[in-house]
């Protein structure tokens, strides 16, 4: 019997090694697997490369991981936000490496990893500082930049519901990077608010099929009001 349901976030993350590349879902505060990140901090892996759209907000989620000194390098599109002060301080002190990638290229590089694509040409960034040193080619009269896949050792994603085969559905714009990251890592761990029986998820509506998912772990649902207060704080 296949059973991908892990008994706890601790068990789900037990084998994460130092030096891993970890894909972390989320855009702003939506879809951030906060409970998995907290468990990763407790687990103790260090010298990590984190791939996320942002570089953390306040002192929760990715920012908490940065603050704990576990991250060597961050690959992201938008590190600068009103409350990204943890990243800002580390960056200015030269204590973290930043690899800035246009958002669509970030997403497509992970898609390429998951889909077995060796590299691809994109028009995004052609002629800009973010394409410096990269191979380029003219295709149909337009400049394109060669981009390589980003593979994760581990992906941490947040979904709404999952079953023991690892099938996932998401909620609203919290889906964001989850499905792509799930496909792009050797080990994908999904936190969900509900685990359901096989067959309870409509097969027509499953967003991430279980083949992309290694473990599913249930976490308690946060009250929205508490979340709103946290964002406002």
């Amino acid at each position: 019997m296949i059973d991908k349901i892990a008994p706890s976030v601790e068990a789900a993350l037990a084998d994460v090694s130092d030096g891993s590349t970890i894909l972390v879902g989320g855009f702003g505060g939506a879809g951030v697997p906060e409970e998995l990140i907290d468990a990763l901090i407790a687990q103790g892996a260090r010298d990590l490369t984190i791939v996320n759209n942002n570089a953390g907000n306040g002192e929760v989620g990715v920012a908490a991981l940065l603050k704990a000194g576990r991250v060597r390098k961050i690959v992201c599109s938008y590190p600068r936000t009103a409350d990204s002060y943890v990243f800002d301080a580390l960056y200015r002190a030269g204590k973290i490496e930043l690899d800035l990638v246009p958002q669509g290229t970030l997403s497509e590089r992970m898609r390429a990893a998951g889909a077995g694509i060796g590299a691809f040409y994109t028009p995004t960034g052609y002629g800009t500082d973010l394409a410096k040193g990269k191979e380029t080619r003219m295709i149909d009269g337009g400049g394109h930049v060669l981009e390589y896949p980003i593979r994760g050792d581990v992906a941490l994603v947040k979904a709404e519901r999952g079953d023991r085969w690892g099938n996932l559905v998401y909620r609203k714009s919290a889906r964001n990077f989850g499905p792509t990251m799930a496909s792009a890592a050797k080990c994908t761990i999904a936190q969900v608010y509900e685990t359901v029986e096989l067959g309870a998820l409509d097969p027509e509506c499953i967003v991430t099929p279980g083949i992309f998912v290694t473990r599913v772990v249930k976490v308690p649902r946060k009250k929205q009001a508490a979340q709103v207060r946290e964002r406002a704080a």
């Binding site: 246009p102 997403s107 497509e108 002629g127 609203k172 792509t180």
Partner: protein
Amino acid sequence: MSYVKLTRDEIAARIARDIPEGAYVNLGIGMPTLVGNHLPKDREIILHSENGILGMGPAPALGLEDMDLINAGKEPVTLLTGGAYFHHTDSFAMMRGGHLDIAVLGAFQVSVSGDLANWHTGGDAIPAVGGAMDLAVGAKSVWVMMEHLAKSGESKTVERCTYPLTGIAVVKRIYTDLAVLDVTPRGLVASRLVPGLAFDELQRLSGVPLSPSAARAAA
């Protein structure tokens, strides 16, 4: 003659009136977000948000925020009836793949040939690009919404951008607080100058050669 600059809301209203029925539109973070408040009620215009939303609606009433439903600026929004959610890779396929009709973006500088600089002021600022470069190359029309002059008083329309580029020859039209500038093979063509602003005065402020639109020249 004296003239009054348009407010940000007035520029946003001007842009909103120019968006046709049925258009798929992405509004960049910052000033362009205001355009959403001025869309004509009698047109169906579908707003796209890079984080996986088509049919994005206005901000929810106080107390009805859902932090799983946010826009590119990370503020709570709503979904219109008929709207859809999708993942990031699909969202950027819409952007890069030429499926969006219009992207409205802010800018630090735009060159006479439509080069756009809007992601980084250089120096020791922490760089952040987000989806700006994808929108710049991907949308069928890129419109810029900006103040005509920088805070320093310098023109934001330039011969060559001195800030780092977002995209090359991508901007089709520029809406400022003084006029509308179309990027054409003959350079920037000015129209819809605010009342009381003479073309010569706009030209003096702009730092790059402008030509009056044919309609205006004939008038």
